[in-house]
Structures are given as structure tokens and as C-alpha cells.
């Protein structure tokens, strides 16, 4: 097990090195640099002179070739130093840390909802297999599964933000209203809920449909097994057979899937957060890319990649945990 862990970690580090190098090289070759992107927004009278620009490029170490800059970035990494954001002039860790909360609120709740709803739906569909209500549910789930989130998000905004304007049912984009600080505690909770509901629905429904179908497909296979017939024959009740005998055995692929959702919890969704002006990680990445804030882009890329690798690793470890036949050496 130790050798396996060691090998896995080393390979992961190599992968991380290659990934960050590729992204660093790519973003340094994007047209424009952080100075120009910022200066373009200012009025022409305050545009930087050539000397000023060169001086600032040197100050930001942008005058060096990208591989030199990459190595410098890499060397600082073990100390937990991800550099300073060009735009906000604060350490990258702080900038990212500020956005973790909103994304986590959204994705955490969404994941919870997904599990809470999809398991019962999956089991229900197994029990009612090929009856009318199951068919209808399955078709509906399939439609949800194929519905692009950005289409759904825009549609919901049109209905709940625009058509229901000036009614108590109106739901809003953004995270909090402008007068948030003045509200009482219960008012604050209500306000966040009002902003949270639409992104939460959009964030959840795709995964919900996928998970329900996934559970149902695995259950269909499980209930055909011999041990189910044995369980029924020995007199176990239908609920007991369904949950303790069949569902328990479908947990193995379910658990692997859990590991693969890990990066999604923190990475947020670029499109959804942009549509709903939700101040999370996806939004941060989008903004950073637009103003060429290299340190922030690198910090986020590093985080995404570490999480993806960790998720894959976790899936493998969990796999060995729930399935005693699997061991790693």
C-alpha cells in the first residue's frame, strides 16, 4: 500500500508539473498583458507611456521569458506563495479564498440535494419498472439530462426575474441585494435564499437526472442476480431486499462517481456563475482570464488539477474500501 501511495503521489506531481507548465506557457502567449488590459479601460489621457510600461513590466517580472517566470513561480510554490493578483493587488490565496464560500454554498447544497432526491427516484423507478409512471419519469429525467444548463438558466431568469417582477415570487441574480447589510437576520436568510434558488436549481437538475438514471441502471442489473432470488426465497421483505440486498451492492460504482464529483464542488461553473452573477470560483476564473491576471489563473488551474487528481485517487481508494476484492500493492 505504501509503495502504491508513493508511486501514485510521484506520478501525480509529475502530472501537475506538466499541466501547470502547459497552462503557464499558453496564458503568457495570449495577446495582451495585464497592463494593457487594465490601461485600455482607463481614459486615453492616463494611458501609460512606453517607459512607464517597461518599468512596470519589469516590476511585475513580465519582461522575462515565460519559462523563466514559470520556474520562479514553481520555486515559490512549496512555501505556499502563489504570487499576487495583478488586478486586486492582494495575494492570490486571499483572492481565491474569498470566492470559496459562495461556490461551496452552491455546490455543497446542490450535491446534498442531488443525493437526497436521486436515490429515492432511482429506487422508485426500479420498483415500478416499465409501468406508465416509471416511463414518464424516465423520459422526464432524460429530457432534464439533455437540457443545457445555460438554456435552462436563461429561461428561468426570463420567467422568475422578469415576468414575475413586482410579485413576491420574483427571484434575483447576484448573491445578495444592495441593502443586504441593513436587513435583520431572518431577512438576510430570506434574501440569500431568494438569490440562491435559481442557480441552485440549475446547478442541481443535470446531476440529479444523471444520478437517478445511473442508480436505476445499476439496480436493474442488481435485482436480476441470484442472491436477490435467494434473499426473497428466505423470506426477506421487498423493502429489505431492495435496499439492504440490491442497493447495497450498487454502491461500488456509486462511490467511484462520488470521487469524480470532487473537483466540481470547488471549481464552480463558469457559465452558471456568469449568468447569475454569482461571485464564485467560476466567475473569478472568467474575470481573471479576461484581464490576463496570470497569478490568479495559475492558482485556479493548480487548484482544479490537484482536485481532479485527488478525486481520481479518492475514487480508487474508496473502491478498495467498499469492494474487499480490490487491493492495491
Amino acid at each position: 500500500m505504501t509503495t502504491y501511495l508513493l508511486r501514485r503521489t510521484l506520478l501525480g506531481l509529475v502530472t501537475l508539473g506538466v499541466v501547470t507548465m502547459i497552462i503557464y506557457g499558453l496564458i503568457r502567449h495570449m495577446p495582451g498583458n495585464p497592463l494593457l488590459m487594465a490601461a485600455e479601460n482607463l481614459d486615453p489621457s492616463r494611458r501609460l507611456t512606453k517607459e512607464d510600461q517597461e518599468r512596470m513590466l519589469r516590476a511585475y517580472e513580465l519582461d522575462k521569458p515565460w519559462y523563466v517566470a514559470y520556474v520562479r513561480w514553481l520555486v515559490k510554490l512549496p512555501r505556499g506563495d502563489l504570487g499576487t493578483s495583478f488586478r486586486e493587488r492582494r495575494p492570490v490565496l486571499q483572492v481565491i479564498g474569498q470566492r470559496v464560500g459562495p461556490t461551496l454554498l452552491l455546490s455543497g447544497l446542490s450535491l446534498l440535494l442531488t443525493y437526497l432526491i436521486s436515490v429515492p427516484i432511482g429506487l422508485y423507478c426500479t420498483v415500478r419498472s416499465s409501468r406508465l409512471d416509471e416511463r414518464l419519469t424516465s423520459v422526464f429525467l432524460y429530457i432534464l439530462y439533455s437540457l443545457p444548463t445555460y438554456v435552462a438558466a436563461l429561461g428561468l431568469l426570463v420567467v422568475f426575474y422578469l415576468k414575475l417582477k413586482d410579485t413576491p415570487w420574483q427571484l434575483k441574480p447576484g448573491m445578495v441585494s444592495d441593502d443586504f447589510a441593513m436587513l435583520s437576520f431572518s431577512g438576510k436568510v430570506q434574501d440569500v435564499a431568494r438569490h440562491l434558488l435559481l442557480p441552485l436549481v440549475c446547478y442541481t437538475y443535470g446531476g440529479l437526472a444523471y444520478f437517478s438514471r445511473f442508480i436505476k441502471a445499476n439496480m436493474e442489473e442488481a435485482i436480476r442476480q441470484d442472491y436477490i432470488r435467494t434473499a426473497r426465497a428466505k423470506g426477506a421483505g421487498p423493502v429489505r431486499v431492495l435496499i439492504l440486498h440490491a442497493f447495497r451492492n450498487t454502491l461500488i460504482p456509486f462511490v467511484t462517481l462520488l470521487g469524480l464529483t470532487l473537483p466540481g464542488i470547488l471549481s464552480g461553473s463558469i457559465i452558471l456563475e456568469q449568468i447569475f452573477s454569482w461571485p464564485g470560483m467560476g466567475m473569478l476564473f472568467f474575470e481573471a482570464l479576461n484581464v490576463r491576471d496570470y497569478p490568479v489563473i495559475m492558482g485556479l488551474t493548480l487548484m482544479f488539477s490537484v482536485l481532479t487528481l485527488l478525486g481520481q485517487f479518492l475514487a480508487d481508494v474508496l473502491y478498495a474500501l467498499v469492494d474487499p476484492r480490490v487491493t492495491y500493492t
Binding site: V14, V19, Y145, P148, V151, V158, S305
Partner: protein
């Protein structure tokens, strides 16, 4: 698909068959037979065929350029300019009329001329003005542009007809699906085959490469790659999508090759003196293709999804470009114009749904476990 010659007559008489066996079906005709039984799968396939027809005939369905005209004694088809602008530039009628066509202008320039016009006189890239077509009012703009008798699906804030843009956008959608997934399939199949067939250090290297690409979230890599290009065109988007979505196919292909290279028929082929390339591509590849067909179909759906998302985020090709995602972007800017969300949204949804259904049906039709059960 491989063509197989009919089995040779046995040299020695075998045991007399009590009953003549029905001619055995080939693998793909068996798959097709099972596919046909699924009504939804067939429906989805029909949808894609219909969409292809719309894409192919888009200039004849909606446009402002004659489908075919006889001008100064020559046959010309200015509508081809919607496919490739250069083709139109070379036509005398385009030069003479400076690409603004109408029955009146055509008659003015050549009284003998006549033309076949598209079914709907609307342009996907610009606003049609008043009397461009005799007696037809110009397109409304802004909030006035709700669906009407003249603009079936409404107009954009700048007055471009939504129906025309949707019809011409089907070309982008189809092209993106096939080209980017084609690139992905080519890379994935080649790398997966090499890794699986040769194994050893090549396998280690390629598996690392797959992991590296998988490790970066797709949208991050795509946005970073697209940002490097100075002026994005739809072709850049397609190539970038292809370059980032091959990992699933490669992994599957590698697994298939690992399994198949140990088979006896491969050994037999090698013993007969077949070269490595021949064994890989003529003997193993045809048998490994069925499993990757499913991820390829799902790949088409996700390519269309991502291309429209990119256009929507403003990272796609800039206008004039009829991508459905561009319409959605305008819809987001002016939410009260609901027709800019509903119609392109439905188009994207139906197309993605169709490809997903095809993929799902293919999966069922090629699944060996289900085939066993059917016997």
C-alpha cells in the same frame, strides 16, 4: 466496416446438416436491426437527417440571394455565397449588383433576367430594410421585434431575423459536431491504439499524456487555447474542441487493443506474416470500433453544447456568425426579448437530445451483454 468475402466451400464434406442454416448476418447489420427496434433512436436519427437537410439547403430556405438566376445569358447561383463568400464574389451578377439582390434590381440590370428566390426573404447576418423586397417593410429592431407574420421567430435587437439565423446556424452546429469529434476520434483512436498495441514505455508516456489533458478542466483548457488565437473563427473553435476531447476515446481504444492483441486471430495474422501496421489497422481496429462509437456520438452532443456555450460566453467566433449561442448571448443582454432565448435554446436542446438518444440506442444495440440476453 469490413467487407468479407463469402466463406469458401469446405474442402472435405462436413457432417451433413440436417437443416440448411439461415445466412448469418454481419455484425453491423445485426446492430442496425437492433437499433431499428428502438422508436426513439430512429426518431433521433431522423431529426439529425432533417437537420442536415436544413443545413445543406439553408441558403434556399432563408436568404436574400437568389438560389438560381439567369443573368446576362448565364446561369448563376449567388446563394452559394452563404457557404463560401469567394464563390459569390466571382459571379458577374454579384459584381454588377454589388451583392444586393432584388427582383427590381435584377430586372433593371438585365431585363431578360429571372431568378428563383429563397423561401423566406431574410438574411442571417444583417437587417433587411424596407422595400428591399418590393412592398415588404423593413425588419423591426429592439422590443418591436417580437415574432410576427414577417419575422416568424422575431428579430434581434439590431433587426436581424431570428429564423434565418437559426436556419443558417444549423450549419455551424452540424459542422462543429462532426469536425471536432472527427479530430478527437482521430487523435483518440491513434494514440489509444498505439498505447494499447505496443505497451511498455510508449503506453506509460501516452497514459500520462491522457491524464494530463484529463486533469485540466475542459473549459479552462479550451478558453486558454482560444485566448491565444488572435481572431477566433469557427474553425479555431472546432480544432480546439477536438484537441481537448479525445481522452475518453483514447482510453477506451487502449483498453480494447490491450484485450484484442492477445486474441488468437491476431496471433494467426502475425504468423501469416502481416506487418505491424496491417495487424493494427486491418485486423484489430475494425473489431475495436464498436465500443468507441458510443463515446463518439456523445462527443458530438457535447461538442455542440460547448461550442454554443463558448459563443454564449463571448469566446466563440465574432459576428457575423450564425451560431445559436450568439443568439442566446443577445438574449441574455436583453432578457425581455424572450424569443432570443426560447428559440435558439430549443434548437440546441433538441439537437443535443437527439445525439444523446442516438448514443444511448447505439449503446444498447452494441452491448454484448444485452445481445446474450436476447438469444
Amino acid at each position: 466496416m469490413t467487407l468479407r468475402s463469402p466463406p469458401p466451400e469446405p474442402l472435405t464434406a462436413g457432417p451433413p446438416a440436417s437443416r440448411p442454416r439461415p445466412p448469418s448476418r454481419g455484425y453491423w447489420s445485426e446492430v442496425w436491426r437492433r437499433y431499428r427496434q428502438k422508436r426513439l433512436g430512429v426518431l433521433a436519427l431522423l431529426y439529425v437527417v432533417a437537420l442536415s437537410l436544413v443545413a445543406l439547403l439553408s441558403p434556399a430556405i432563408a436568404g436574400t440571394k437568389p438560389v438560381l438566376c439567369r443573368f446576362e445569358g448565364r446561369w448563376q447561383a449567388p446563394c452559394l455565397g452563404y457557404f463560401v463568400e469567394k464563390w459569390e464574389d466571382r459571379m458577374p451578377v454579384a459584381r454588377k449588383l454589388r451583392k444586393r439582390y432584388s427582383p427590381e434590381r435584377l430586372k433593371e440590370a438585365d431585363p431578360e433576367s429571372w431568378a428563383i428566390w429563397p423561401l423566406v426573404f431574410q438574411d442571417p447576418y444583417r437587417r433587411v430594410r424596407a422595400n428591399e423586397w418590393p412592398g415588404r417593410p423593413g425588419n423591426p429592431s429592439g422590443m418591436e421585434g417580437r415574432p410576427s407574420r414577417l419575422n416568424w421567430l422575431g428579430t434581434t435587437p439590431t433587426g436581424v431575423d431570428v429564423f434565418a439565423q437559426l436556419v443558417h446556424g444549423s450549419r455551424v452546429a452540424l459542422l462543429v459536431g462532426f469536425v471536432s469529434t472527427g479530430i478527437a476520434a482521430l487523435i483518440g483512436i491513434t494514440l489509444g491504439a498505439l498505447a494499447g498495441y505496443y505497451g511498455g514505455w510508449l503506453d506509460v508516456l501516452l497514459s500520462r499524456a491522457i491524464e494530463v489533458v484529463m486533469c485540466v478542466p475542459a473549459l479552462v483548457l479550451i478558453l486558454a487555447l482560444l485566448a491565444v488565437v488572435d481572431k477566433t473563427t469557427i474553425w479555431h473553435t472546432m480544432v480546439v474542441l477536438g484537441l481537448t476531447s479525445w481522452t475518453g476515446i483514447a482510453r477506451l481504444m487502449r483498453a480494447e487493443f490491450l484485450k484484442l492483441r492477445e486474441m488468437e486471430y491476431v496471433l494467426a495474422a502475425r504468423a501469416l506474416g502481416a506487418g505491424q501496421a496491417r495487424v493494427m489497422f486491418r485486423h484489430i481496429l475494425p473489431n475495436a470500433l464498436a465500443p468507441v462509437l458510443v463515446p463518439i456520438t456523445f462527443g458530438i452532443a457535447s461538442a455542440i453544447l460547448i461550442e454554443n456555450a463558448l459563443s454564449f460566453l463571448g469566446f466563440g467566433s465574432p459576428p457575423p456568425n450564425a451560431s445559436w449561442g450568439n443568439l442566446l448571448k443577445e438574449g441574455q443582454r436583453s432578457l425581455s426579448m424572450w424569443w432570443l432565448v426560447l428559440f435558439p435554446g430549443t434548437a440546441i436542446f433538441l439537437t443535443v437530445l437527439a445525439y444523446n438518444l442516438i448514443g444511448e440506442t447505439l449503446q444498447e444495440a452494441t452491448d454484448p451483454r444485452l445481445r446474450e440476453a436476447a438469444k
